[in-house]
Structures are given as structure tokens and as C-alpha cells.
């Protein structure tokens, strides 16, 4: 993937923070030997628990933090690409200024001509559903609106690289989905490269083509989402049938020494079991056995791991993907 199409090339990037004062010379290794290549036009997700080094990595790409070792380059561009970023979410805004005033200030210091800025602001605010908040001070907006405005600011001047640190954090489902949908659309339309960090696995799964999972400053896994799912896929199957048949099915599975568990949930008259098989071929005798018992299945499917399952198994994090 390396070469001129790589929008971002990260080579052995490391960052060790050292205390500034002589009596506090403690060291924290935030990022260790991270190497990544992100092609132009890709949405790449950086996932990891708190303190994994995601934000430091993204800030090194933005040039806001100086690496201790390694380098970040942009081979697809003849000069440093124009970068848009959401790094502190709604804190990126001047709260005393309105949406338009924020757009005007950041756009002008970015060098976007005022005429272009007016057009772009109208278009982006309309897209993100904040056009009616144009003249309201940011401090009077809801958190979701502020977050959308922060994303709008990142799009000003048509950046070639977008760095988004937790862009949907704290948003309601509808707002989060709006932002995801628009990011995908704008990325496709403008051949924009996006690097996004998130704690929300569903966001990463729906938004990103590839993800890198960070653990203790290192990239523990980096693959297309579909490949990761395939790699971590287990021979787990969900069986659904009439609840009245549950004792007979359990008796059969126990006799056949098949590992299973009852799936919690309110399924009314339906029982659901998660059956863990040795391999895919073990499906045949399982089916034959159930057929011989005359069990009518209402559900039968292979259970694919979610990105959250993969994340947990890689990072070993407990209590969710936080």
C-alpha cells in the first residue's frame, strides 16, 4: 500500500513524554513504533482503551506533538496537506461566538476567501442540520449541535486530511448517525482521507474501512474490518426454537457433548441457544440430531463477532471498550 497513493505514511513513530522539571523526570511511553500506511480516500479508525496512545498518535500526525522517534509523511501530496481536525470536540469552539462567527474566524485564519467561506458555511451548515443555528452563540447550543459545528469547522477550506478525535462522543444516536453518514459521503465525494479515533465500536464498524487497534502505545492489530471479523470468527451458532422444546434440546446437546449456553433475552415463546462447535463440519451432525428429534428451528445463523468482541479479545480490556 505504500507509495504515492499513501495519504499518510507513518514509520516507526514513537513518543515518550518526559517530565519538564528535573525533580519530576518520570517517563511515559505513549506511542511505540507505530507504522501505518493510509491510502488516499480511506476512512481509517484508531481504536484502543484510554491511555492506549490514540490521541497522541493523531496529534503527531497533525504536527501538534513532536515525535520522539520515527516520522509522519504524506507521499500522495507534493506539500503538507491541508488538515482539518476535531481534537477537543465542542471545546474547539469560541463559545461566545455564533456558528457563523466561529466559521468566519477559523476560515479566515486558515486563508479561505470570505466569498468561498460564505458559500461553504451555508452548504455545510445545511448538510449538518445546523443552518437555523447560524446566528446563535455556541454556548447556547446543545452538545450535539456544538459537536456538529466542530465537524463543520474541520471541513472548512476543503481539507485533504481530516483528523477526528472522538467525533461522535456524547451524541445521541440520530446525531451520531448523521455525522457518520455525512463523513462517508463527503469522504467519497472529495477523495478525502479521514483518520478517526473512537471508543464506539459500532461507529468504527460502520464508518471505517480499516481499523488499527492500539494497546499500550502499540498497534496490536491493523486490518480491514471485514478481515478482522473473519479472523476472529468462531464456530458459534444461534439456534432458535419453541421454548417448550428446550429440555429436549438441552438433553440432546448434553448427550452429544456439545458446548452451549442459553442466550438471555425476552423472546416470548422462543428459546435461543448459542452453540459452540469445534468446526464448521460439526454443523451437519447437530442438524441431523435436531431433525431426528423433530425440532422446528425458527432461527439458525452463525454468530459473527462484533468489533467490540474483537477489541476486547485483543486489548484484554474489561468492562467495555472504554
Amino acid at each position: 500500500m505504500a507509495g504515492v497513493d499513501a495519504a499518510v505514511q507513518i514509520s516507526e513513530l514513537s513518543k515518550t513524554y518526559r517530565g519538564l522539571l528535573p525533580w519530576a523526570r518520570h517517563e511515559v511511553r505513549a506511542v511505540r513504533d507505530v507504522s501505518l500506511t493510509i491510502p488516499r480516500g480511506e476512512i481509517f479508525g484508531l481504536l484502543g482503551p484510554n491511555g492506549a496512545g490514540k490521541t497522541t498518535a493523531i496529534k503527531m500526525i497533525a504536527g501538534l506533538v513532536e515525535p520522539s522517534r520515527g516520522r509522519v509523511s504524506f507521499p500522495a501530496f507534493t506539500r503538507r496537506p491541508s488538515i482539518g481536525a476535531v481534537l477537543e470536540g465542542s471545546r474547539n469552539l469560541y463559545w461566545r461566538l455564533s456558528a457563523w462567527e466561529n466559521i468566519r474566524y477559523f476560515g479566515e485564519i486558515k486563508g479561505v476567501p470570505l466569498v468561498q467561506l460564505r458559500r461553504q458555511a451555508a452548504e455545510l451548515m445545511e448538510l449538518f442540520g445546523i443552518a437555523d443555528k447560524r446566528d446563535r452563540p455556541a454556548q447556547t447550543m446543545s452538545r450535539g449541535m456544538q459537536q456538529k459545528l466542530a465537524v463543520v469547522l474541520a471541513f472548512l477550506g476543503e481539507p485533504e486530511l481530516l483528523l477526528l478525535d472522538e467525533p461522535t462522543l456524547g451524541l445521541d444516536v440520530a446525531s451520531s448517525q448523521t455525522i457518520q453518514r455525512l463523513l462517508k459521503r463527503l469522504c467519497a465525494e472529495r477523495e478525502l482521507t479521514i483518520i478517526v479515533t473512537t471508543h464506539q465500536m459500532d461507529v468504527a464498524q460502520s464508518l471505517c474501512k480499516r481499523v488499527g487497534i492500539m494497546r499500550e502505545g502499540e498497534i496490536a492489530a491493523c486490518s480491514p474490518v471485514a478481515e478482522l471479523v473473519e479472523h476472529f470468527k468462531r464456530q458459534d451458532y444461534i439456534l432458535g426454537f419453541n421454548r417448550a422444546e428446550l429440555p429436549r434440546v438441552e438433553q440432546h446437546l448434553a448427550a452429544e457433548q456439545v458446548d452451549y449456553e442459553v442466550v438471555d433475552g425476552d423472546w416470548l415463546d422462543q428459546a435461543r441457544l448459542r452453540v459452540k462447535l469445534e468446526n464448521a463440519r460439526a454443523v451437519y451432525p447437530l442438524m441431523a440430531g435436531l431433525e431426528s428429534l423433530d425440532i422446528e428451528l425458527s432461527d439458525f445463523r452463525q454468530e459473527l463477532p462484533t468489533l467490540e468482541d474483537i477489541f476486547l479479545s485483543i486489548t484484554g480490556a474489561e468492562g467495555g471498550a472504554a
Partner: protein, 265 residues
Amino acid sequence: MTRWLKIARAELVRDFTISLRYPLELLTGLFILYVLFMGLFMGAKLLAGQQALSGNLDGVVIGYTMWFFALMAMNTMSIDIENEARQGTLEQVYLNAPNYLGLLWVRAAVHLTMGAGVVVALAVLIQLTTGHWLALTWAAVPAMLLTIILTIAGLCGFGLILGGLSLTFKRIGQLSALVQFSMFFLAYAELSSIALPWRDIVAHLPLARGVDMLKSLLTPAEAYPALGTDLAWLAIDSLFYAALGSLVFYAMERVARKGGLLSHY
């Protein structure tokens, strides 16, 4: 329009918008400045008596207005950085502006130009209240303006040293307060009454020579043969502080980037 002029316009519009949106804050600030001056004026009158004070009133007004400029320069170059880091916009400005140090200089020019309006209004108010009018002659205006600009440039440079420290260490409120207090003394330092070699040392500190020159320029009855030399020294000092401030800021900015401190507060 060049990029930096656009940045100046953006800063002007932002400042103006905030000032108009929160007029009470602006008016309260002006009122506090006015009350502070009147407190200073009344205190001086009590200590020195009316007769003794009338000769020095020009000095009191000039010293006070220049101290106000010094506070504005310090605020723009250091306290504003601390505030931006606290509210979370510092990194965003860093990412969007072509050069943060350049932006700070432009911001200072805009703030201080706007501040000049406040200073003029305050000076008129003070003169109306005290009944004492500065003996300003049109002939002295160009030299006064040049003196004010050079003095402020030196103050901004000095402020950048604090700004650099603020970028790295964030909480420098106590140091800022100490510097602001020191500036007050420099604004009222009577260079002629200080013995050598201290006089020369104090004259090279920010503010002192500028205020001294402005007081001399406001005394048209007396000739000012050393104006050229003083202007040259003021320019050298200001250039030195501007260069030193920029260098310290640049070095501290690197430390902040190395330590990932730009967004910390």
C-alpha cells in the same frame, strides 16, 4: 488582501463581536480602570497636595495610560494563551493559522489598536474629571505616536516571554501578577531622580524610557535635544525585547510540542 491582513480582519471582527455582545463586561472594565485612576489621583493628591500634584499630573495620566497598554500587551501575549488552552481552542488556532507566533503579533496589533480607542476615551474622561488637560501640541504628535508604538512593541516582546512560559507551564498567574505590578512601578519611575548606574539599567527595562520620553514630549516649554538619541535607544531596546520574546516563545513552543502540552491547562 494578503493572508496576514485577513487574519488581522478576523481578529478585529472576533474582538469587536465579543465586545458588542457583552457590553456590560466592556463597560465594567472601563469603569474599573476609571475608578482605579481616580483612586490613584486622589491618593496622590492627598500625599502631595494640590499644588505639588498639578505639575506632575501629566506624568500620572501618561504613566497610567501606558500601564494600561502594558497590561493589554501582557494579556494578549500570555494570559490569552492560558485562556485559549483552558477553553480548548489553542490547538485549533495552531492548526489553522499559518504561524502562531505571527498570529500573536497580529492579534496584539489589533487588540492594542482597539485598546487605543479605550485609552483615548479614558484619557478624555480623566481630564474632564480632574479638570487638568494634557498640554498636547500637534507638533509633538508624530514623535509621541512613534514613542508609543516602539514602547508597546517592546512590551509585547516582553509579554511573549511570559507567553512562552504560559504555553509550557500554563499556570503562571502569580508571575503575571508580579510582572504587572512591576510594570506599574516602571510606568511611574522618575528616571531623572534615579542615581547612576541604576538610571541606565531602569531605562533599558520595558516601559520606563517610553513613559519618560512621553512626559518630556508633553512639556513643550522645554527643549528636547536628546529626542533622536532616546528614540534610537527605545528602538534598540524594543527590538531586543521583541527578538528575545520571539526566541523564548519559539523555544518554549518546541518544549510544549515535545511535551504534548499545547492542549493542557
